[in-house]
């Protein structure tokens, strides 16, 4: 099944060299390195400018800010690593927020991947109506989350539709948004509803590209549908699965809007994620230096987790067919 990509790469890389060798005595002047460099810079300039102004600039600015006590109002001075030290040693809720963020990410990631994969597989096996179902499940993805969360808040509010439904089916659970132990589940629920469609579409497309001949061959060999899924489909869509997992993990670590609209981090700090903490430290208590420090800690966490995922992918992602 596997193709010798290394050999192919060698061939393609060798081709220009070979063609050059064919014409050793050619009178063509080699384009000057300096000239092509200048031209390259010219072509790169627009995106380079955009990158500098909109990405590198703010990044550096927030890094610098994280070493200051900037509070918008009042005098600002450099405080060295004080923000970071305070965050990790003094802040009474930082570790709780970190735990909440990781818990949310883990729960949401698993549920999102399982749900979106299940629905994608189910849709891929439908005889008709694939497009309709894909659109239906994808719909929530392009609705603005803040608006959606407000509707959910009406559903989940004490004495709202959700409580009524739970009572109706005899489930004795407290109101989701006012109970500290359950509030995070409300955020997970809303996030899942609004975001699983993206991964479903991604996995659906990957499943469509699995060659039918493999499945036919496996069927002739007596493989059950279950075996076909685990042994053929899953390995073949693993690159998409990996992509979906990494992006979902990054997004859920940064979760902000559903928390903002649903619970404002409450009750207490039950649903305060790092993303929301950055906002509340920055724009509720105006400690923008401190907020920047949290942002960089979040950045470091995301980098580490992504690096870990990239490392682990060697064990389970199959790029060759």
């Amino acid at each position: 099944m596997s193709v010798d990509y290394a050999a192919m790469r060698h061939d393609t890389a060798a081709a220009p060299l070979a063609s050059r060798r064919v014409r050793p005595g050619s009178t063509d002047r080699k384009p000057s390195v300096r000239g092509s460099f200048g031209l390259a810079v010219l072509f790169l300039l627009p995106s380079l400018l955009g990158l500098t102004i909109f990405l590198i600039g703010p990044l550096v600015a927030s890094l610098v800010l994280s070493f200051t006590n900037w509070q918008v109002i009042g005098t600002t001075r450099f405080v060295g690593f004080t923000n970071y030290v305070n965050l990790l040693t003094i802040d009474p809720i930082f570790w709780k927020i970190l735990r909440t963020t990781l818990l949310y990410t883990a729960e949401y990631l698993v549920l999102n991947i399982v749900l979106s994969l299940t629905i994608a597989v189910w849709i891929s096996r439908l005889a008709w109506g694939k497009t309709i179902f894909r659109i239906i499940f994808f719909l929530p993805t392009f609705m603005p989350l803040v608006g959606v969360a407000l509707v959910w808040l009406l559903i989940l509010t004490p004495g709202g539709v959700f409580d009524w439904m739970m009572a109706g089916i005899g489930l004795k659970i407290p109101n989701l948004v006012t109970n500290a132990d359950y509030a995070l589940q409300a955020v997970v629920l809303v996030s899942l509803w609004s975001h699983f469609g993206y991964n479903m579409l991604l996995f659906g497309a990957a499943l469509e590209s699995v060659p039918q001949s493999y499945l036919d061959a496996a069927a002739i060999d007596g493989a059950t549908a279950w075996q076909q899924f685990w042994r053929i489909k899953l390995p073949l869509i693993s690159p998409s699965l990996f992509f979906g997992t990494v992006l979902t993990a990054i997004n859920s670590l940064q979760t902000f809007d559903q928390v903002y609209a649903l619970t404002h981090g409450g009750p207490g700090s039950a649903t305060t994620t790092l993303g929301y903490a950055i906002y509340s430290q920055g724009f509720v208590t105006y400690k923008l230096g401190y907020a920047s420090a949290i942002a960089w800690v979040l950045f470091a966490i995301i980098m580490m987790l992504t690096a870990l995922q990239l490392h682990l992918q060697k064990k389970w992602v199959h790029y060759e067919i």
């Binding site: 918008v72 109002i73 009042g74 003094i90 802040d91 009474p92 809720i93 808040l153 989940l156 509010t157 004490p158 004495g159 407290p174 109101n175 948004v177 006012t178 109970n179 500290a180 132990d181 903002y260 609209a261 649903l262 619970t263 404002h264 981090g265 409450g266 009750p267 207490g268 700090s269 509340s280 724009f283 509720v284 208590t285 105006y286 923008l288």
Partner: protein
């Protein structure tokens, strides 16, 4: 044509007249430079909670233009909690509006963004005696005046008159007691309805002060962990957790006082505590007769806190003189009369408070005696510079105590710790 006629009478040649006419036409179409008395466009940032409020404020902006045709005021608005988030963000990006709205509770924290008005007040010999002294003083910081007040008022109890009369209960009135209040709250809690809708922190501060509990220490610093306040908060939380006369509220983007307001106007709660400035929203949204009374007498009496808001000039404004003219109009007699009649503002100008009673509150039961009584025993709502933070921490953490997830005393300790962090 008119130009030509005028030209003839002045004996100017036809050609010159034509040239003049052309110039006038050009000027009219804006192709030439502006005339000497250029219009000044001012920006004004103000919070609002409903469409009637927006209409009221736009009218105030128009009023400035009527008095000073060379000044136009552009009204920009957002919700109350967002206002205090956006204001520092605007300050940070150097985009503060010319006219800034300031609430007395937030004056300690935000005065730095504003220009002191003392020299202007003295130069124009503004009659500051026309304003209610407590609110005029509440918009000062370090002895300097940072805004002129447009409204003020003690927090009062709004109630659903229809529900009280249907239940055959005596109406809340000045001097009514805690026992009467609780009896009413219990009697009105039935059929999926609650007797009361509570909110934090303002309504709780009134509750605590009536119980004699302080929330600041002798130095004026935040002190939420004194035993008296802890006891008051525990009994406040019991209204929800044990007595169940008030509903739970979630920590959400909507202020608990707005949720309480919504419950009263929707008829799902019979009473709630808020400022008289809410009358505009309560009246327009509710389909029942509204009543007003002071908060009940508790251990220390019926103690309310009075607060208010005003307008000032931002420190970075390029049009401070024009802004000062506008602020004077916006807090002046005509604006006071309009806002009082619209029910948006219980005027900070003493002589205009009657318009609020006579027009906005004319069909509100007990308005005049209720507010008069509340003013007599009210204290100025003194706060700390980080009151925005304290308020949002209350919104976020208090539901833990009401839902019974955490002890009320512990909740206050957490808020105190996080506010002073």
């Amino acid at each position: 044509m008119k130009t030509e006629d005028t030209a003839k009478t002045h004996g100017v040649s036809r050609r010159k007249a034509l040239a003049l006419g052309a110039t006038a036409a050009l000027a009219a179409t804006g192709m030439l430079s502006r005339p000497a008395r250029a219009a000044t466009n001012l920006t004004w940032f103000m919070w609002s909670g409903s469409e009637p409020e927006v209409t009221a404020w736009k009218r105030i902006a128009a009023l400035v233009n009527e008095k000073h045709p060379d000044i136009t005021v552009e009204f920009q608005t957002t919700s109350f909690p967002d206002y205090w988030t956006k204001l520092p963000a605007l300050a940070a990006s150097g985009k503060l509006p010319d006219i800034v709205s300031l609430q007395s509770l937030r004056a300690p924290g935000f005065a730095e963004l504003m220009d002191p008005l003392d020299a202007r007040i003295a130069a124009d010999k503004l009659d500051v005696g026309a304003f209610e002294p407590s609110i005029f003083k509440a918009l000062q910081r370090g002895g300097k005046q940072f805004a002129l007040p447009y409204d003020f008022g003690p927090l009062i109890l709004f109630y659903n008159h229809d529900l009280f009369t249907q239940a055959g209960l005596p109406l809340p009135k000045p001097g009514w007691t805690e026992a009467e209040f609780m009896a009413a709250a219990r009697a009105l809690t039935k059929d999926g309805r609650h007797g009361l809708a509570i909110s934090v922190p303002d309504a709780f501060v009134v509750y605590a002060r009536s119980k004699g509990a302080p929330y600041l220490n002798a130095k004026g610093e935040l002190d939420l962990v004194n035993p008296a306040l802890k006891a008051a908060f525990a009994s406040y939380a019991r209204l929800v957790a044990d007595d169940k006369v008030a509903p739970l509220f979630p920590a959400s983007g909507t202020l608990s006082s707005n949720l309480a307001n919504g419950r009263l106007t929707a008829g799902s709660a019979a009473m709630y505590v808020d400022g008289p400035w809410q009358l505009i929203n309560v009246k327009r949204k509710s389909s029942f007769k509204v009543g007003v009374a002071p908060v009940p007498v508790r251990e220390a009496g019926s103690i309310s806190v009075s607060a208010g808001s005003g307008f000032g000039i931002s420190r970075t404004s390029q049009n401070k003189d024009a802004a000062w003219k506008a602020v004077q109009v916006m807090t002046g007699p005509d604006a006071a009369k309009y806002l009082a009649e619209a029910g948006r503002a219980f005027s900070a100008r003493k002589e205009f408070q009657k318009f609020w009673y006579d027009t906005a509150a004319q069909d509100v039961v007990g308005a005049r005696e209720g507010i008069d009584a509340a003013i007599k025993t009210a204290e100025p709502y003194v706060t700390t510079p980080n009151w925005s933070t304290v308020a949002s921490l209350f919104e976020q953490y208090a539901p833990l105590a009401f839902a019974g997830s955490e002890k009320p005393e512990k909740v206050l300790e957490t808020i105190q710790q996080l506010a002073n962090q």
